[in-house]
Symmetry: C2
Subunit: 335 residues, 2 copies
DNA sequence: AAGCTAGGCGAAAACGTTTACGTAATTAAA
DNA sequence: TTTAATTACGTAAACGTTTTCGCCTAGCTT
């Protein structure tokens, strides 16, 4: 009863060899259906499940992937993980989580610690603190890797991103159509392609509409809510913009608070628009115009690509999967 | 160069036995400092990291824990995971994530799949669909397990919870002090101790203040936002309550929407108060009075307890760790 | 009847560690 | 000086699988 249940035990009870049991469990063609059935029924009866460590050791497959992200307590990333986990379940994979807290050293340390066979592949959305592409250039040769949202470009790896440039362009045009001419930019992810693309979309939209771009005031994100609040207030005081374009969700609270503290009415005095996956955007006061990324789908697509690679399936030609974001116009831009 | 780097390789290069290398790497007292240093420097030089599968197989330690929760895309759970992950890093543990989507069968299936030595312990917040304590009674004997927030009572396991009864009592009193007499209850987690405690706190507060409790209307949570909206609207129409006490975050959006659609002003016509970890509660229109649970700390405490168990440290007498929630009064209750 | 083929199975090595135990050399105790 | 204890290291088994290779039998083909 207390006896351990492993392949050896199954073999003994059935009076066959452990090799046969192993093959039967893996549905090998070498084993007759009759024997397979005997093995399967006994395995179920004894509640046998293979020991993962032994299996990994021998087969070099772990059925595990790692997700490395800045922080799980974030609407975008928690939704991505939800998507990843859902696909992982379908493929029978396990999901390990690592948070970098935007620290490149932690990111590298975690990643390195996974190269000893702990996982079969990695899904990552890189930290914003630095852009260290030498490291990742080497890394992608060592282990199957898929980037999502925050990527390194020009690498031989699948990258799942969104139409940052286009949607930022479109959103900026929306503000211009609402009559804004002094649109300030709340700048996040400045070291990353996503952040740069958003900013470029914003600048190009201004240029297209004949608004001098280099005079547009910018606040860069700091990891300190109070500091961001101060900077935005300063921005509002000095430049008196008629709109704030926030490129990351983290600016929403300080932006709203700054307007309140300075008695500026949204959207009459200042219009606000932000990249965000906040589910309560429509309940804010006033409701917030958002660019929402399909975080859940990004997670799903990234996971699907990785599992295709791990199962040696042909990837659909393209290494760059680009999903569309959605601009939802609400009261904060006068809609 | 391409040669694999494992203990055997280290042993060869240093002309010592693999046993010595293994012991040196594990800082065994049997090995001289001189030898240890030779091993450590070579290991660092060759970028050696032990193969986890081999190590697990032999030592029956995985340095891995599983977190089983309903859904990661939820403010409470994503914060909890953040806390768990942070402690796990300190202890050098890895964290696996599994989502049950409130499905008890998935929950049991995941848990069972972890009993073959894949993890050293489990952190779980159980699904709300059913209360199946026989299963968990057996389970806690098989593997170190810590419950957080959503627990099974009367089991020999650490449980990290919050003061649900007290804070619900206090919140209800707050509504009564605001002049409410017809307080409707939006009921979630009804199968779980947390849900029952919240409801009991609400009922007892009413009783204490001489309000007939059994006439209070209740809406029970369904996994369908549209349905919840309809039910709340129906509730508002039929019973004309002067307050809504929402026991879970998921009721916030339908509650606000219902009031808007029925042209009821918050807080003048209806006051609203909800359990919630929404970071933007203060930005809602109107800002929302919340009971926020210390989700991050709950995760941290749960993880700490588990790692103490795994490291055979003495647990501080008590198996029930109860943290305090915070009632933040805002405009939605007229504050 | 001899030779072949294929199907079904088993023996044994291997994966990379950890660890119980043995042993030699050195040191301490008698 | 002999004996006991200690230190430092090695041998080899074990963890539970997977997989290569080979064997045996039964059924065919000539």
């Amino acid at each position: 009863m207390a006896e351990v249940v492993n392949i050896k035990r199954l073999a003994q009870e059935l009076n066959i060899s452990i090799a046969t049991v192993s093959k039967a469990l893996n549905d090998s063609y070498e084993i007759s259906l009759k024997t397979k059935n005997r093995v399967w029924t006994l395995a179920k009866e004894l509640n046998y499940t293979p020991n993962p460590a032994a299996s990994n050791l021998r087969s070099h497959k772990t059925k595990t992937v790692a997700v490395i992200i800045p922080c799980v307590a974030n609407n975008f990333f928690s939704l991505s993980i939800k998507g990843i986990e859902e696909i992982a379940r379908q493929y029978g994979y396990h999901v390990l989580i690592y948070q970098t807290h935007e620290n490149i050293e932690a990111e590298v340390a975690f990643t390195n610690s996974l190269l000893n066979g702990r996982v079969d592949g990695i899904l990552t959305s890189v930290s914003s603190s630095e852009y260290n592409s030498e490291y990742y250039t080497k890394l992608v040769k060592k282990i199957p890797l898929v980037f999502f949202d925050r990527v390194y470009e020009n690498l031989d790896a699948v990258k799942v991103t969104t139409d940052d440039y286009e949607i930022a362009f479109q959103a900026t045009e929306h503000l211009i159509e609402c009559g804004c001419t002094k649109i300030a930019y709340l700048y996040g992810l400045e070291n990353l392609p996503a952040g740069k693309a958003r900013f470029a979309g914003y600048l190009d939209a201004l240029k297209t509409h004949g608004i001098a771009a280099d005079e547009q005031p910018v606040v860069k994100y700091q990891d300190d809510e109070e500091l961001n609040l101060q900077h935005i207030k300063e921005l509002l005081r000095k430049y008196k913009p008629d709109a704030l374009f926030s490129s990351i969700e983290e600016f929403i609270i300080p932006a709203y608070c700054a307007c309140r503290e300075m008695n500026l009415k949204i959207p009459n005095d200042v219009k606000i628009l932000s990249f965000s996956n906040l589910s309560t955007a429509k309940l804010l006061s006033p409701s917030l115009t958002t660019i929402s990324q399909p975080a859940f789908e990004i997670g799903r697509e990234a996971a699907k690509s990785l599992f295709k690679i791990l199962n040696n399936k042909q990837l659909d030609d393209e290494q760059n999967i680009i999903l569309k974001s959605v601009l939802t116009k609400r009261e904060s831009t006068g809609c």
